[in-house]
Amino acid sequence: MLAFALIGFAGFASLCLAMEKHFNELLKRKPTAVQRKALRVAGWALLLVSLLLAVQVRGLALGLVEWVAVLMAGVTLWVFGLPYQPRLLLAAAAASCVLGPLLAVLAL
C-alpha cells in the first residue's frame, strides 16, 4: 500500500509543479515550457504506474479502492500542508520518487 501511495503522491506533486503559479511559488523561478510539459507527463505517468502497481499487488477490487484512498489522502496532505511546510513537502515528494519504487521492488 505504501509503495503505490508514495508513487501517487509524487505524481500529484509533479502535476502541481506543472502549473506555472505553483512552480513560481514553490521554486521561486519561472518554469520553461519544456519543464512544465515534462512535469505534466511525469505526473500522469507516475499516477498510472501507481494504479497499475496497486491493481497488480492488491487485485482489481481492493487495488482500485486503496489506490483512490491513498491518492486522496496524499493530495489532501499536499494541498493543506503546502502553505505551512512547502520545503518539507517538496523533500517528501522527491523522497517518494525514490522510496516508492524501491519499496515496490522489495515487495516483489
Binding site: 477490487a61 481492493l62 486503496e66 484512498a69 489532501t76
Partner: protein, 522 residues
C-alpha cells in the same frame, strides 16, 4: 443563459445546504464514528478481553454453551470472535419468549467460554444506528436520512457546477485570509476527496433503494417480502421432526468450509432445530472478506449427518454492482490502514458540511458587522450552527463519560447513556441561545477539549485499562480510542483558543477595507 444556470445552481447549493446541513453534519460525524463501531464497542465494554483467535475452538465452546443453556431452542446464532470483535457472541430464540423480540444474546469469553458479565451499553452500535435512523421510529428516520443523502448528492453536483475553477484551483489553499480561506478549504476538501463524497452519498441511496424507489418492486412482487426472498434466497428449513439426534460437532463443518474456501473468515453461523433429526446449520462468510457486500458465500449443512446440502449461488452482475456500492459504503472489508483512511475522509465530509454552514453565516454577518444588533434569522442560524457542531461533539463526549461513570449494574444503563447524549446536546443548544456567538463557540469547544482530553484518564481511573495498560498488552482498539480522544481534545483546545482570543485578524482587515473605501470615496 449559462451564467443564469450557474447562479441557479449556486442558489440551490446554498439553501439546501443550509436547511439540511445541520442534520447532515450529525449524520456524517456519527457515520464516521461508525467506521470504528466494533472498536468503540470494545472500549464501551472493557470487561470483554481479547484473546488470540482460534475459530474451531471458539465454535466448539459456543456449541457446548448453547447445548447446556439453550438445548430446547429452535434457533441458535453464533458469531465468532474476530480481529475487531473480541467476544464470542451467541444468541438463541427463547422458548419462553424472554429477551428482546424473544431472542436472548450473550457474550462469552473467547478463552474460557464463560459468560462475560459486561456492562450494558450500545457502544459503537448507537452511533451506527443513529447515523441512518436518527433515533426516530421505523421508517421515518431512514426516510429522513435518505432525504439528507439525496441533498448531499445534490450539494456535491451543484457545488461542482458552482465552483467552476476545479482544475485551475485544484491545489489551492490560502490560509489566514478570513472568508477566502474558508471557501478555499471548503472547495479543496470537497474536490480532493470527491470520489469518497460521491461514493458515500450515492451508495447510501443504493442501500435504501428498495425504500426510496419501491415502484418496480411493488409492480412485480406486490410487496418487498417477495423481492427479498428472491434476492437473498430463503432459508428452507424443515419443521422439527420431534426426534432427538445429537448435533454434529460444528468445528467439523467449519473445517469443510475451509477446504472449499481456504482462509475464509466466518460471519453469522445459524443452527436451526438443534438436537433434532431435521437440524440445519448454515455458515456465512464474513463481510470482511470481500469489497462487495455479498450474500452468496454461504454453506448449509445437514445438522445430523454433516452433509453439505446447498451453497449460495453467485450474484448476477446487477446485484454485484449494487452490493459493491453497499460494501464500499460500509467498509467492512477495510483493514486497519484503509479503515483509518475511511475515518479521515468521513471527517473530511463532515468538515465540508461544517465549513459550508460557517460560510453561509459569515458572508451575511459581514453586512451587519458595524451594527451592534444581528437580525433574528442570522442569530437563529448562528445558534443552530453552534449547537449542531460543537454541541454534537459534547453529546458524543457525554455518551462516553456516561459509559464510564454510570454504575455497571444500573438497570437500563444503555438507555441512560443515550439519554446523556441527547441531554447534553439539548443543553448545548440552550447554552448557544443564551451566550453571544463567539463566546458560545469558545466555551463549548473548550468544554469539549476537556471532555475528550480527559477521557483516557477517566478510562484509566475507572477500568484500570488506561494507555499504560493497553499499550503494554497491545490492545490497539482500546489504545487507539484513548489516543483518538486525546487528539480530538487537543484539536478542540486549539479551536477553542482561536475562538476565545479576540478576533485580531478580522479587525485589521476590516480597518484596511475601511481605509480603502475611504480612499475610493475621496
Amino acid at each position: 443563459m449559462k451564467e443564469g444556470f450557474r447562479q441557479a445552481m449556486a442558489w440551490l447549493h446554498t439553501w439546501t445546504g443550509l436547511i439540511f446541513g445541520w442534520l447532515l453534519f450529525a449524520i456524517f460525524l456519527t457515520g464516521t464514528l461508525a467506521y470504528f463501531k466494533e472498536e468503540i464497542s470494545h472500549w464501551a465494554k472493557p470487561e470483554v478481553n481479547s484473546h488470540p483467535l482460534d475459530a474451531e475452538r471458539s465454535l466448539a465452546m459456543a456449541q457446548r454453551y448453547l447445548e447446556a443453556n439453550a438445548g430446547t431452542s429452535s434457533n441458535w446464532l453464533i458469531r465468532l470472535p474476530s480481529e475487531r470483535e473480541p467476544a464470542l457472541s451467541v444468541g438463541w430464540r427463547d422458548p419462553q419468549g424472554q429477551g428482546r423480540r424473544g431472542f436472548v444474546r450473550k457474550e462469552l469469553d473467547a478463552a474460557s467460554g464463560a459468560e462475560v458479565q459486561a456492562r450494558e451499553s450500545r457502544g459503537g452500535d448507537f452511533f451506527y444506528r443513529f447515523h441512518f435512523e436518527l433515533q426516530m421510529p421505523y421508517p421515518w428516520g431512514r426516510w429522513l436520512a435518505s432525504c439528507c443523502a439525496f441533498v448531499m448528492l445534490l450539494g456535491l453536483v451543484t457545488g461542482i457546477i458552482t465552483h467552476k475553477k476545479i482544475f485551475k484551483e485544484f491545489f489551492t489553499f490560502r490560509p489566514g485570509k478570513g472568508q477566502r480561506s474558508w471557501l478555499d478549504g471548503h472547495n479543496a476538501i470537497g474536490v480532493l476527496a470527491l470520489p469518497f463524497h460521491l461514493m458515500i452519498s450515492y451508495s447510501s441511496l443504493v442501500i435504501f433503494m428498495y425504500m426510496v424507489m419501491p415502484a418496480g418492486i411493488l409492480a412485480s412482487y406486490g410487496n418487498s417480502g417477495g423481492y427479498f426472498d428472491e434476492l437473498f434466497g430463503r432459508d428452507e428449513v424443515p419443521e422439527a421432526a420431534g426426534e432427538r439426534v445429537p448435533l454434529v460437532p460444528l468445528p467439523q463443518l467449519y473445517a469443510k468450509v475451509q477446504q472449499q474456501a481456504p482462509g475464509a473468515r466466518m460471519g453469522f453461523i445459524q443452527v436451526y432445530n438443534p438436537g433434532d433429526r431435521n437440524a440445519r446449520v448454515s455458515l456465512a462468510r464474513a463481510a470482511a472478506d470481500s469489497v462487495a457486500y455479498k450474500r452468496s458465500a454461504n454453506w448449509t449443512f445437514d445438522g445430523t449427518s454433516g452433509a453439505l446440502l446447498t451453497q449460495g449461488a453467485p450474484e448476477s452482475a446487477a446485484m454485484m454492482t449494487a452490493f459493491t456500492f453497499v460494501g464500499l459504503h460500509m467498509g467492512n472489508f477495510a483493514g486497519p490502514g484503509l479503515r483509518w483512511l475511511y475515518f479521515v475522509f468521513g471527517i473530511a465530509g463532515t468538515a465540508v458540511i461544517g465549513t459550508g454552514l460557517v460560510m453561509w453565516l459569515g458572508k451575511r454577518q459581514l453586512k451587519h458587522a458595524k451594527s451592534a444588533h444581528m437580525p433574528g434569522e442570522l442569530r437563529l442560524v448562528e445558534v443552530l450552527n453552534i449547537a449542531s457542531m460543537s454541541g454534537l461533539l459534547l453529546g458524543v463526549a457525554a455518551f462516553f463519560w456516561a459509559n464510564r461513570l454510570l454504575p455497571p449494574a444500573l438497570e437500563g444503563r444503555d438507555g441512560w447513556e443515550i439519554d446523556s447524549f441527547f441531554t447534553l446536546w439539548a443543553l448545548a443548544l440552550l447554552h448557544a441561545a443564551l451566550r453571544p456567538g463567539r463566546r458560545a463557540w469558545g466555551e463549548q469547544l473548550a468544554l469539549g477539549a476537556l471532555a475528550f482530553g480527559l477521557l483516557p484518564l477517566l478510562n484509566a481511573l475507572t477500568t484500570g485499562q488506561g494507555l499504560n495498560h493497553s499499550l503494554a498488552v497491545g490492545d490497539w482498539a482500546m489504545a487507539g480510542f484513548d489516543l483518538t480522544a486525546l487528539g480530538t481534545g487537543l484539536f478542540l483546545a486549539w479551536a477553542a483558543g482561536k475562538m476565545l482570543r479576540a478576533p485580531k485578524v478580522v479587525a485589521k482587515r476590516a480597518a484596511k477595507g475601511d481605509k480603502r473605501t475611504a480612499l475610493e470615496a475621496q
